[in-house]
Amino acid sequence: MTIRRRIYLALGFLGALHASVLLASFFAPYDPEVQDRELPFAPPTRLHFVDERGRFHLRPFIYACASSSMPVAACVEDLTRAFPLRFFVRESSAVEKANLANQGAELGASESKRRHWRLFGVDQPARIFLLGSDGLGRDQFSRLLHGGQVSLLAGMLAAGLALGFGLVLGAVAGFYGGWVDELIMRSVELFLALPWLYLLFAVRAFLPLHLSAVQSFFLLIAVMGVVGWARPARLVRGVVLSARERDYVAAARGFGASDVYLLRRHVLPQAFGVVMTQAGILIPQFILAEVALSYLGLGVAEPVPSLGNLLAELQQYHVMASYWWMFLPGAALIPVFASYYALANALQERAGVVPT
């Protein structure tokens, strides 16, 4: 495959992944916070095509779990009634409705607000858990999509921030040289040398522990951006150093171009390839950082789902040993990372570097 085609393939796959995560509220059958205390740790719901009498149905259907008081590790299917899968439903979340009804009429307003299209769903009282449910009976699939939204966005924003810092500082260091260069490069060495997770922990240690989910999300991004600027800065500096010596830059300067103009017009465009490659490397790294911090309870906090705090339930051994579907949020990271790395590899190869 040509390099160009590989780049497009990776970009296309990443685009599809991000689109499905972005439209989480459409693809997910339930809201991520909706609980069903009757069904904790329900295994993934089986989709059936052939019913009891051996007849084949084109439209898949599910059976509801016979509700039992014991913890439902194995779902005993209630074969008396089949619930066909419905597509493009207006309001699928039966339990949500029931909850709202229980909580009284004052929530009626929010009910109408929440109503929107979903790709698929089933009638109540059955619930469809494509990837099982967690300890509070929340749908893992819906939480995975919504959590992916949080994690991927955190990765991208943090990478954007780090690349922004790196671009500006690297350009300034390379373009002006002298003591500015010296200062910036020394701090680059400092940040590069530190084990980044330790640094991340240290920075996080100095921030307040109890934060709202939104605050902690943005703080997390800021922290990761601050920690990760060093490598792009160094690479950008290298590019700028060689670019500023070119004849056309000297010529433009001779015509009276200002520093800002030179940087913007002639020097920084050369750094584009480096920045793109770094983005391909940094974004998965930051996604992983978010996952690690949230797993350890230092990142995005419940009830907002993120891939990290979805995995956090595995900290209990009994969950890890008995409910394999709790690993799926982690497994979902593999295609994301694989395509980012493929993209970074292809970009490196295009730049004539042997990919590492």
């Binding site: 020394r186 040398a193 530190l194 980044w196 922990f201 992983l288 790395y341 042997v354």
Partner: protein, 321 residues
């Protein structure tokens, strides 16, 4: 030679001082401290909270605290832990040893695996072994460390082949000498395996890239023209030529390995610096955080020193500098 090593030593010193300054001045950003939550306790008056804070010097300015801390470093205490009520150095010492054992053996093992594999892959760029290698490493790379650790732990829980955490079994002290070794080694397997699986693909790719680059250079072609066998060419010429960037990677790779070890230690409850740092962050035990970060920096500087010495031994170009 002396100049080279003095310069590297100074650089290491700069790193240590820089990191300590950095962590300390980030400390200034902290709203609230270890004693902040005491204010919510109705049995504590505002005065007694203030008295405790005064006792630990938390009401001083950052610069003063830094000097005080330097002073305690000089005494070998590395500051004072609020939560454990003891000098940080005492807490850190045994845990640093455990982290070092874990990291060093993981590093050794992954280099032992990565160099031959990378050499084999880079020997024929584009060949089937190269493709296999690239495919395998990229799929391993795509698996996040955390998932790897959790997956191996799952294996341990389900099969019972390995212990699921810690460094020794409960009855460790009663075991015989050989039993003790066996016990530690069995606890050792999972964390080391996680770290090795995480680092090997990165290393293999670097070794491969280095070998591919060297094999394309003219002196290799000349050597081949002289009729030197392929095996000898790879082992003696290509590997040596590719050694310089790899050795600097050895120094830098410690950074990644330490970060990986932090996570693995917490997940697999290995009694290293990682869990200590995690608890200290949650408890806002600031001097322990600073101490743990300093500890990792020291490992790093030590690793870089070793890498520099190796580089000096391997690469004659540096000796002439």
């Amino acid at each position: 030679m002396l100049r080279y090593f003095t310069r590297r030593l100074l650089h290491g010193l700069f790193l240590v001082v820089g990191v300590s300054l950095l962590t300390f001045f980030l400390l200034q950003l902290a709203p609230g401290d270890f004693f902040a939550e005491m204010r919510l306790n109705p049995q504590m008056t505002a005065e007694s909270v203030a008295a405790v804070r005064h006792q630990y010097g938390l009401d001083r300015s950052v610069a003063t605290r830094y000097l005080l801390w330097i002073n305690s470093v000089r005494k070998g205490e590395l500051g004072f832990s609020f939560a454990y009520d003891s000098p940080v150095a005492c807490l850190l010492w045994a845990r640093a040893r455990n982290t070092l054992i874990l990291t060093l053996s993981a590093m050794l093992l992954s280099w032992l695996i990565a160099v031959p594999v990378g050499l084999g892959c880079g020997a024929r760029p584009g060949g089937w072994s190269d493709r296999l290698c690239l495919g395998a490493t990229s799929s391993l790379l795509a698996i996040p460390d955390l998932l790897l650790a959790l997956g191996l732990l799952f294996l341990a829980v389900r099969t019972g082949w390995f212990p699921t955490g810690g460094m020794v079994s409960p009855g460790f002290d009663d075991l015989s000498g050989w039993g003790k070794v066996k016990d530690v080694v069995s606890h050792f397997c999972l964390p080391v395996a996680t770290l090795v699986l995480g680092t090997v693909p990165v290393l293999v790719r670097h070794v491969r890239a280095g070998v591919v680059e060297v094999l394309a250079s003219p002196f290799i072609r000349a050597a081949r023209a002289h009729g030197i066998t392929r095996r000898r060419l790879l082992a003696r010429y290509a590997l040596r030529g590719a050694a310089a960037p790899l050795i600097s990677l050895l120094g830098l790779g410690i950074t990644t390995l330490l970060s990986g070890a932090l996570l693995v230690e917490v997940v697999m409850s290995w009694p290293g610096v990682g869990p200590l740092l995690w608890e200290a962050v949650l408890a806002r035990d600031l001097y322990v955080v600073v101490g743990a970060v300093m500890c990792s920096t020291l490992f790093l500087v030590g690793g870089n020193m070793v890498a520099d010495a190796l580089l000096f031994a391997v690469d004659p170009r540096i000796r002439t500098e």
